[in-house]
């Protein structure tokens, strides 16, 4: 297992992740604070954010392909659990919103937060299981 190569993949992923977060913030707040809402800049900011998001996913795939067999198993199990729960919880949340059983509107941010937390917890649990 090449630790230098692992570090390189991690740095690439961190770079694209932070770039994505930054461009997302620009695309979100730019039209509000820096330029007109219907400006071409808004479209450019969204397209740049999308492109960087794709590069972030590709960097994540490269890192994943560098994992060894146990790490892949741990990540795949965590991803499977996270995907299943995200679909179930996401649809339940959406249904609650449609039927007006929750006070606020259903926000995609809730689902993103839920996915992140579920993935982190299942990674920790799976790592513990195999340690």
């Amino acid at each position: 297992m090449n630790k230098k190569e692992r570090k390189k993949h991690l740095i690439h992923l961190a770079f694209w992740t932070w770039s994505w977060v930054l461009t997302l913030a620009i695309a979100t707040f730019g039209p509000e604070f820096f330029w007109e809402e219907k400006s071409a800049l808004t479209i450019v900011a969204i397209v740049v954010n999308l492109a960087i998001g794709i590069l972030m996913v590709l960097a994540n795939r490269k890192l994943f392909n560098h994992y060894d067999e146990l790490e892949r198993k741990i990540h795949l199990e965590s991803m499977g659990l996270t995907l299943g729960l995200a679909v179930i919880i996401g649809l339940t949340y959406s249904l609650l919103d449609q039927k007006n059983l929750i006070h606020s509107d259903a926000e995609i941010g809730f689902l993103v937060g839920f996915i992140s937390i579920t993935y982190m917890i299942s990674l920790m649990v799976n790592r513990k299981r195999y340690s």
């Binding site: 297992m1 060894d68 067999e69 146990l70 790490e71 790592r127 299981r129």
Partner: protein, 66 residues
């Protein structure tokens, strides 16, 4: 699956870290294999077999009930 990886590794005078390095996996993977919590892939088992100088079936003991 039951195995004798720890025994053979010690016989070769290797640490988990060294064995991991030699066969291209993480130390955590070697630890999980030795604790019989994880069964390695066929390529990893063959690499171990070559390194230890024993056929795979001598240190990975398959049981029907698994």
């Amino acid at each position: 699956m039951k195995n004798k990886v720890r025994e053979l590794r010690k016989l070769q005078g290797l640490t988990q870290e060294q064995l991991a390095e030699l066969i291209g996996v993480s130390r955590q993977t070697i630890n999980a294999i030795e604790k019989e919590k994880f069964d390695p892939s066929l390529p990893t088992a063959f690499k171990m077999s070559k390194l230890f100088g024993y056929p795979i079936e001598q240190f990975f003991l398959y049981q029907e009930t698994e």
